[in-house]
C-alpha cells in the first residue's frame, strides 16, 4: 500500500512537472506586410493555424511596405518583425547587418520549387537567406495596340515613329537608375563588386555610344518621362507605350481596354546594329529575423506564406507573378498578358546582386541631365562623372 502510494505520488509529481510544458506559451510572431496585403496575410495565417492545430502561432501584424523593410529594420532591429517581405535589392545590406536568419529547414525543397533566378537572388555566399515570394519585380513594355502594331513595337525607333505620327508619347523613366540600366546592360555593360567597392564600365567606348543613344531617345519629340501616377493617368490618352512593371498592369488594362498589350522591351539602335534592351530582374523575398525568439516557428510560417498554394492565392488576389515554378506554369498565369511579357523579358534580365547602393543616385543624375536636355557637358564627361560617383568607396 505504502509503495503504491509513493509511486502514485511520484507520478503525480512527474505529471505536474510535465503539464506546464504541455500547455506551453503560444508562439508569438510579428509579421510585416504592405497595406494592401494585410487582409490576405491574415487569411493565410488563419489557414496556417488550421493546418497546424497543435502548434498554433499568434500573429501580430505590422504595416511596413516592402520598399521600407530595410530602413525600418535597421532603425530598431529588436522591435522589427519576425517575418517580413523585402525586394531583392535590399538583401546585401540586410545580410551585412546580420538581419536575416539562414534558411536551413527544407532548403532543398524550397530551392527546387522556385525559379532559379529567385533562388539566386535569395542566396548570398553559400546560404539561403530568404524565401522567394514573387518574381514580377522586373519591368517590360506596355503599349496601345491601336497606335503601335506588332512590327513597330520590336524596335525603339519604330515605336517612337508610330507614337509621333499619332501625336502620342513613349514613356520611360530614364531618370531612374533602375530603368536607364537597360540600355547599358543590353549593350554589354557590367556592374560588379570588387573588394566591397562597385565596379562599373558604363563609360567605356561602347558605353559612350549608349549614352549617345540615350541622348537621341530623350531628345525625340515623342519621348516622355514620368512615374507611376503619370503612366496610369495618361495611358491611352497621351501615352502610347510605357516601360513599367506588373504592378501597374491592372490600372493600365482599365485604361486601354481592348487595346491592352504587353511585350518584352524593344531593341535600340547602337551605331549600325540593333541591340536588345536588357533589364534588372526583380524578386520579392520573405526573410526571417535573425534575432527572432522562435526561429523554428518563424521558418515554418515563412515557408507556409510562400508555398505553392499561397503564391497562387497571391496571384489571384493581387495579380503578383509567382516565383514558384508550378504556379508559373499554370494556365491562369500564362494567360496573364503582363506576366508573360515579363517572362519573355527575363531572358535578358540581370541580377541586382552586384549593385551597391551608390549606383542608384548617380545613374539617376545622368538620366535627369539627359531628360532636361542639358547638353552643357559632353556625354563622355557626364559618364565619367557618373562612374566616378558610382565607384566611390
Amino acid at each position: 500500500m505504502k509503495r503504491f502510494l509513493s509511486l502514485a505520488l511520484v507520478m503525480v509529481l512527474a505529471l505536474s512537472a510535465a503539464l506546464p510544458a504541455l500547455a506551453a506559451d503560444p508562439v508569438k510572431l510579428k509579421v510585416w506586410g504592405s497595406q494592401d496585403d494585410q487582409e490576405m496575410l491574415k487569411e493565410m495565417v488563419a489557414a496556417y493555424n488550421e493546418a497546424n492545430k497543435d502548434n498554433p502561432v499568434e500573429v501580430e501584424f505590422g504595416v511596413v511596405g516592402e520598399p521600407d523593410a530595410r530602413q525600418r529594420y535597421l532603425e530598431d532591429p529588436e522591435a522589427a518583425a519576425d517575418i517580413f517581405a523585402f525586394p531583392n535589392d535590399q538583401i546585401l545590406d540586410l545580410v551585412k547587418a546580420g538581419a536575416l536568419l539562414e534558411i536551413t529547414h527544407n532548403r532543398e525543397a524550397i530551392e527546387a520549387a522556385n525559379v532559379p533566378g529567385s533562388v539566386e537572388a535569395a542566396t548570398v555566399g553559400e546560404f539561403l537567406y530568404a524565401y522567394p515570394m514573387t518574381a514580377d519585380n522586373g519591368y517590360f513594355l506596355f503599349y496601345d495596340k491601336s497606335v503601335i502594331n506588332d512590327e513597330q513595337v520590336q524596335t525603339l525607333d519604330g515605336m517612337l515613329a508610330a507614337a509621333d505620327a499619332a501625336g502620342k508619347k513613349v514613356l520611360m523613366d530614364v531618370s531612374d537608375g533602375w530603368y536607364i540600366a537597360s540600355f547599358f546592360l543590353g549593350a554589354g555593360g557590367t556592374l560588379g563588386i570588387q573588394d566591397g567597392v562597385q565596379t562599373c564600365d558604363f563609360n567605356n567606348e561602347r558605353g559612350v555610344q549608349v549614352g549617345e543613344a540615350i541622348k537621341a531617345f530623350t531628345a525625340h519629340n515623342a519621348f516622355m518621362t514620368g512615374d507611376n501616377a503619370i503612366i496610369t493617368g495618361g495611358m491611352g490618352d497621351t501615352i502610347a507605350a510605357a516601360v513599367t512593371g506588373a504592378w501597374n498592369a491592372i490600372a493600365i488594362q482599365e485604361k486601354l481596354g481592348e487595346n491592352y498589350a504587353a511585350t518584352k522591351l524593344p531593341t535600340f539602335t547602337l551605331g549600325d546594329e540593333q541591340v536588345q534592351m536588357g533589364s534588372f530582374g526583380g524578386y520579392k523575398l520573405m526573410g526571417v529575423n535573425a534575432l527572432t525568439q522562435y526561429p523554428e516557428a518563424a521558418m515554418a510560417l515563412g515557408e507556409w506564406l510562400t508555398n505553392e498554394a499561397n503564391q497562387l492565392k497571391r496571384f489571384e488576389v493581387r495579380q503578383l507573378g509567382p516565383s514558384n515554378i508550378k504556379v508559373g506554369e499554370s494556365d491562369a498565369v500564362k494567360a496573364n498578358v503582363a506576366l508573360s511579357a515579363l517572362a519573355a523579358q527575363s531572358q535578358y534580365a540581370t541580377s541586382q546582386k552586384e549593385v551597391l547602393g551608390n549606383y542608384w543616385l548617380h545613374a539617376e543624375a545622368f538620366g535627369a541631365t539627359m531628360e532636361a536636355k542639358d547638353y552643357s557637358k559632353d556625354i563622355k564627361t557626364l559618364l565619367d562623372e557618373m562612374v566616378a560617383g558610382i565607384t566611390a568607396p
Partner: protein, 418 residues
C-alpha cells in the same frame, strides 16, 4: 456742396484723361494675324469689335470703355456718385480685359478665322495699353475717393493665395481618380471621397488618426504654451547669474538638424518604455516647441517694466506678478504660442514615422495622409487625400478665425501713466 470737398481734386484731371484714353486704345492694333500668303498685319480693336466678332470677346470691354468715357466727360462738375461709377467702370474694364486674356486662345482657335493656333504673344500693344490704362484709371478713381489704392494689390494677392486652396477644395469633390490630370475643373462631382474617408478604415484608418492627432495637439498646445511663457518670462524679466549663458545655449541648441537626432530620441524613449505611444509624441513636440521662446521673449520685452514695479510696490511676489499681471496683458503672444503649438502635431510627418514605426493605429493624420501619396496608392487615393487635407484644415481655420479678435487687441499701455 459738402460732398465735393471730400474728393481729391488734383487727381481729377488724370482721371478724366484715363477715361478718355481708354476707348481710344481700341483704335490701336490688338491682334496680330498672319494672312494666307504669310502676310502679317494687325487688327485693331475696332475691327475686332465690328467685323471679327468671334475671335476675341470685345463686347464687354467696349461697354466698359464707353461708360468710362461718358462718365469722365461729366467730371467737369464732379460728384461722388460719378467717381464711384467710374470705379465700377474701370474695374469692369479691367475684369473683361483679363477675361479676354484667358479666353483668347480657345475662342480664337475655335472661330477658325486664324490660320495658325493663337498664342498670347500675338496680342499686340493695344491690348496691353488698354489693361494698363484701366488699372491706372481704377487707382486714380480710388485715390479721388480717398480710398486706399492698396485694395487692388490686396485683391490680387488674395486671389493668388486662395487659388491652390480652391483647387484643393474642388479636387476633393472630384469623381475621377488620379493625381496628374490635365484639366482643372473636375468632370464629375461627388461627395463620395469624404464618405469613404471616414468609413473605409481597413486601408487607412482616418477616424482613429484624426482622434489621435486631436488629443496630441490639445495636450501639446497646453503644455508648450505654458512652458514657453514661463521660459520667456524668466529670460525677459528676471535677472539671475547664468541668464546670458542659458539664453545663448537655448539659441544654439536648436540648430542641429532635427531629424538626425530622431534615432537617439527613439532609443531614449524606448529605454523609458514610451516608444510607439502617443505620450512620447507629446513629449517630443513639447520639448521641441519650448525652444521657440525667443519670439515670446521679444514680446515680453515690450511690456513696460513700470507695470512690474507698480505691482512690487503693492507687495506682490514675482509669482503673482507673472500669473495675475503679465499674462492677462499678453493675449496676443499666448494666442500665437497656442496656435503654433497646436498646429505642429497636425503637420509633422517625419518625427511621427520614426517614433511610431509600424504601429499603425497610433499614426497621426499627417503621416497617414503622406502615406496616401505613396507610389502604390496615389492613383486611387489622391482625391481622398484632398478630402482628408480639407478635414484637417477646417478646424484650424475656424480656430484662426475665432482667435482673430484676440489677435487684434494689442497690449494697452494704460496701466501706468507715462
Amino acid at each position: 456742396m459738402k460732398k465735393r470737398t471730400h474728393l481729391l481734386t488734383h487727381t481729377l484731371i488724370p482721371l478724366a484723361l484715363a477715361g478718355v484714353l481708354l476707348p481710344i486704345t481700341l483704335l490701336l492694333p490688338w491682334l496680330r494675324v498672319v494672312g494666307e500668303e504669310g502676310f502679317v498685319f494687325a487688327r485693331t480693336g475696332i475691327n475686332l469689335l465690328l467685323f471679327d466678332r468671334g475671335i476675341l470677346r470685345m463686347l464687354p470691354l467696349a461697354i466698359g470703355a464707353g461708360v468710362a468715357l461718358v462718365l469722365s466727360l461729366t467730371l467737369a462738375r464732379p460728384t461722388r456718385m460719378a467717381v464711384r461709377l467710374l470705379v465700377v467702370a474701370f474695374a469692369a474694364s479691367l475684369m473683361s480685359g483679363i477675361y479676354l486674356l484667358l479666353s483668347a486662345k480657345p475662342t480664337a482657335d475655335a472661330s477658325g478665322l486664324l490660320p495658325a493656333p493663337m498664342m498670347v504673344r500675338d496680342l499686340q500693344f493695344g491690348f496691353w495699353l488698354f489693361l494698363v490704362i484701366a488699372l491706372a484709371g481704377l487707382a486714380l478713381a480710388l485715390m479721388t475717393l480717398r480710398q486706399p489704392t492698396t485694395y487692388i494689390i490686396l485683391t490680387a494677392m488674395a486671389a493668388i493665395w486662395l487659388l491652390p486652396i480652391f483647387w484643393l477644395l474642388i479636387t476633393s469633390f472630384r469623381a475621377e481618380s488620379g493625381a496628374y490630370t490635365t484639366y482643372i475643373i473636375p468632370k464629375g462631382w461627388t461627395a463620395d471621397n469624404y464618405v469613404r474617408l471616414w468609413t473605409e478604415t481597413e486601408q487607412f484608418n482616418f477616424p482613429r488618426w484624426y482622434l489621435n492627432t486631436l488629443v496630441v495637439a490639445i495636450i501639446t498646445c497646453i503644455l508648450t504654451t505654458t512652458l514657453v511663457l514661463m521660459v520667456s518670462y524668466a529670460f525677459s524679466r528676471l535677472r539671475f547669474p547664468s541668464r546670458r549663458l542659458f539664453m545663448n545655449l537655448g539659441l544654439i541648441v536648436a540648430m542641429f538638424p532635427g531629424f538626425m537626432s530622431m534615432i537617439a530620441v527613439y532609443h531614449i524613449l524606448k529605454a523609458v518604455g514610451l516608444a510607439k505611444s502617443l505620450v512620447s509624441l507629446i513629449l517630443v513636440y513639447t520639448g521641441g516647441g519650448v525652444l521657440g521662446y525667443t519670439i515670446a521673449k521679444g514680446f515680453f520685452d515690450t511690456i513696460p517694466r513700470s507695470l512690474d514695479e507698480a505691482a512690487t510696490i503693492d507687495g506682490a511676489t514675482r509669482n503673482t506678478i507673472f500669473w495675475k499681471i503679465i499674462l492677462p496683458s499678453s493675449k496676443p503672444i499666448v494666442v500665437y504660442s497656442a496656435i503654433t503649438s497646436f498646429i505642429a502635431p497636425w503637420v509633422d510627418f517625419v518625427f511621427v514615422s520614426v517614433i511610431m514605426k509600424d504601429d499603425y493605429a497610433n499614426y497621426t493624420v499627417a503621416l497617414g495622409l503622406y502615406r496616401m501619396l505613396e507610389r502604390e496608392h496615389i492613383y486611387a487615393y489622391f482625391t481622398r487625400f484632398c478630402a482628408g487635407a480639407v478635414m484637417v484644415a477646417l478646424p484650424i481655420t475656424l480656430l484662426f478665425i475665432k482667435i482673430q479678435k484676440f489677435y487684434v487687441e494689442g497690449v494697452t499701455g494704460g496701466a501706468v501713466k507715462g
